[in-house]
């Protein structure tokens, strides 16, 4: 079984029961001119994850291993968007408003979909989620159960929000999570640092942390 030098200690996983979970690599969050940038965020902080994650996904697929993608978003009629999420903070742009890439965070819109560089391959699962966590109100648990998955390698954005919430959910459900430090990103460098520290604190209270380049895979013969 592959063993990865990680924090707080070595992470060992069985490839046949491990999936790569790629969280919310969506145009609305990552593309210049999109929703994320319109809120004043520096999208380059997220875009630095694209190249290492694309390379890692290539290797992961070559090894014949599963990838599950998630997208945060809501139904066009907003019936799955809690009022508190929609209205709080009086943002300049709200979910469902017209944006540069279609209605913001609405399923089916161009901006809601995954960036070109990391598009899902045929037959890879895409989980649409209404919240920050990928387990609540989604089919993710069923997908993992049916696939016999017990360990997750986690990538995506943003580190302290959707990645953290999902890893916390997964950890409570007994999944072993390795967060790929170079493949997760935050608009805020301080939260990137603290977010990764919190994962591995107290003996790995939520999981393990390592760079994707630390993971060695064998190509499927």
């Amino acid at each position: 079984m592959p063993t990865v030098e990680a924090l707080p200690g070595p992470f060992t996983f069985a490839p046949e029961s491990t999936a790569l979970l790629v969280i919310d690599m969506q145009r609305d969050f990552l593309e210049p001119g999109g929703f994320g940038e319109s809120l004043g965020n520096d999208v380059s902080q997220l875009r630095r994850t694209i190249a290492p994650l694309a390379a890692f996904m290539t290797n992961w697929r070559a090894a014949g291993l599963p990838i599950i993608h998630t997208r945060e978003g809501h139904l066009p009629d907003l019936s799955d968007c809690p009022p508190a999420k929609l209205e709080r903070g009086a943002p300049s742009k709200r979910i469902g408003d017209p944006g540069a890439f279609g209605r913001i965070l609405i399923r089916g819109e161009y901006g809601h979909d995954i960036i070109d560089e990391l598009q899902p391959a045929p037959r890879e699962a895409v989980v649409d989620k209404p919240g920050k966590g990928a387990f609540y109100a989604t089919e993710l648990q069923d997908l993992l159960d049916k696939g016999g998955i017990r360990s997750l390698l986690v990538a995506g954005v943003t580190t302290e929000v959707c990645v953290h919430t999902t890893v916390r959910e997964a950890n409570d459900r007994g999944y072993e999570c390795l967060v790929l430090a170079d493949c997760v990103g935050s608009y805020f460098p301080e939260f990137q640092r603290v977010g990764l520290e919190m994962i591995a604190a107290q003996g790995g209270i939520f999981g393990w942390v390592a760079d994707s380049t630390s993971v060695t895979l064998e190509e499927r013969p």
């Binding site: 709080r88 903070g89 920050k132 609540y136 929000v161 919430t165 916390r168 950890n171 459900r173 939260f191």
Partner: protein, 230 residues
Amino acid sequence: MTAIIGPVKATPYLWPYDGSVPVERTALICIDWQTDFCGPGGYVEAMGYDIALTRAGLPATARLLDHVRSLGMLVVHTREGHDPDLSDLPANKRWRSAQIGAEIGGQGPCGRILIKGEPGWEIVPEVAPVAGEVIVDKPGKGAFYATNLDLVLRTHGITHLILTGITTDVCVHTTMREANDRGYECLILSDCTGATDPGNHTAALHMVTMQGGVFGCVATSDDVIAATEG
């Protein structure tokens, strides 16, 4: 005359988002104020941590409990713990706790560590539940997963949550994130929480306030008390 909470002077917006909320639709959630985490002789203290950090929020939480009980607000207490046969303990959680010298189910200074019914698992007297208050036992960090908390809150018609407890960055944050995804409007209290690492306490509170309040708001117990009418 029913009491109303809000608008509370909070960060990053006046809480709640919808201006104010009747006490009947609000619950105070007190997370994991257990002896093993913050009591003298508990296992966190036995591991060499300074429990002054996890106890820091106790006086303010006790004062706030007096206030909300006088208003008739729903109070929910949570306890992290496992069945004595460990049948609800994920293997990785057990392994990790052993790695840091505090194996769940093993003998600790206050009975078996994090096992239901043991002295160390009980809530400390300063903020102990009173008759009629809800107690939720949870096997994880989040209080929603594998518990009846969501059912209890919806049955009571609760839409807004005020969070206290320990630790800020672990169980309180996980629960706040779960609540937020479920549509509850959340307020975390900086003076009624605490962490074994003060930096993580501060960072966790700061995370809440970003992006217009991505998980809700931060305030103090005095802000809540000051914003109560009726």
